[in-house]
């Protein structure tokens, strides 16, 4: 299953629900396109919900990092929500877990942008 992205608004926070595989090719480029589109529109509070992401490779990790820096460079913040154990492990061994602001509950994550 390739990646699926659904964008919704919770107050002034843009939540992107991601499901499937974020891998080299379609998966990572789709995420890149959505993040660039949102930052171009001026969205500065972006929450990436990875709860239904089954697989992520180094290219996918690269897109998360790239998205993080792209949003930050526009004066915004990108946070992560609902990591699966495998994605969490991957971010921990690549030392990125402490780079991202990671939340388990959406309501808590949304409030943290205030």
């Amino acid at each position: 299953m390739s990646v699926k992205l659904n964008t919704r608004q919770v107050g002034d926070v843009t939540v992107i629900d991601v499901s499937g595989r974020i891998t080299l090719g379609e998966g990572s480029s789709a995420l890149r396109d959505v993040l660039r589109e949102l930052t171009a529109k001026g969205n500065k509070k972006i929450l990436l919900n990875l709860g239904d992401v089954s697989y992520i490779d180094s290219s996918g990790i690269g897109e998360l990092v790239s998205g993080f820096t792209t949003v930050a460079n526009q004066g915004g913040t990108l946070k992560l929500l609902s990591l699966t154990k495998r994605v969490k492990d991957l971010l921990q061994i690549t030392k990125l877990y402490t780079v991202f602001d990671v939340h388990e509950e959406e309501a808590h994550a949304v409030r943290s942008f205030a």
Binding site: T23, L24, G25, D57, S58, S59, I61, G62, E63, V65, S66, F68, T69, R86, L90, I93, T94, K95, L96, V99
Partner: protein, 157 residues
């Protein structure tokens, strides 16, 4: 029941330098890993390492060149350990060879260094090493790189 000892070649294929080959090779190696007896979590780790290695071979090694192939071989070795109480282990060895120009391992930046943490790329080799028990990278004369990935099943797993 005692398992037969020795080395058995379970896969020996040449793949075109396309991203589709990454999926195909990953699927075939995972099937071999399951048959070798790896549990779901180890299959996931092997799949991750194979995927990173195949992407490197196709994208950075062969640079999608239609005239170049990626050679993949997999062997399963049943190890008869000297200590009879230890039983038998299994060594699963994957070799992925490209026909690219090669690279110097010393020149690959450490992705865990503070200055490299926010780099977009450069984590593939590190992840291969993290998910497998052994990783070897050698030049493959006359041109190319052979990456050897090893995963073991200990007799007590």
């Amino acid at each position: 029941m005692a398992l037969e000892t020795g080395v058995k070649e379970v896969l020996d294929n040449h793949y075109p330098s396309t991203l589709e080959s990454v999926d195909v090779a990953e699927g075939e190696i995972l099937k071999a890993a399951e048959q070798a007896g790896f549990d779901e979590e180890d299959q996931h780790r092997i799949g991750m390492a194979v995927r990173e290695c195949m992407v490197n071979a196709v994208v950075h090694g062969n640079r999608y060149n239609r005239n170049k192939k990626v050679h993949v071989s997999v062997s399963v070795e049943r190890l008869s350990l000297s200590d009879e109480k230890s039983g038998q282990g299994t060594r699963f060895t994957i070799r992925i060879t490209d026909q690219g120009e090669g690279f110097e391992l010393d020149e690959v930046p450490d992705p865990l260094h503070d200055t490299n943490l926010l780099r977009h790329s450069g984590r593939g080799l590190f992840l291969m090493g993290a998910f497998m028990d052994d990783l070897k990278i050698c030049k493959a004369p006359p041109a190319g790189t052979v990456v050897t990935l090893v995963k073991n099943i200990s007799p007590h797993e």
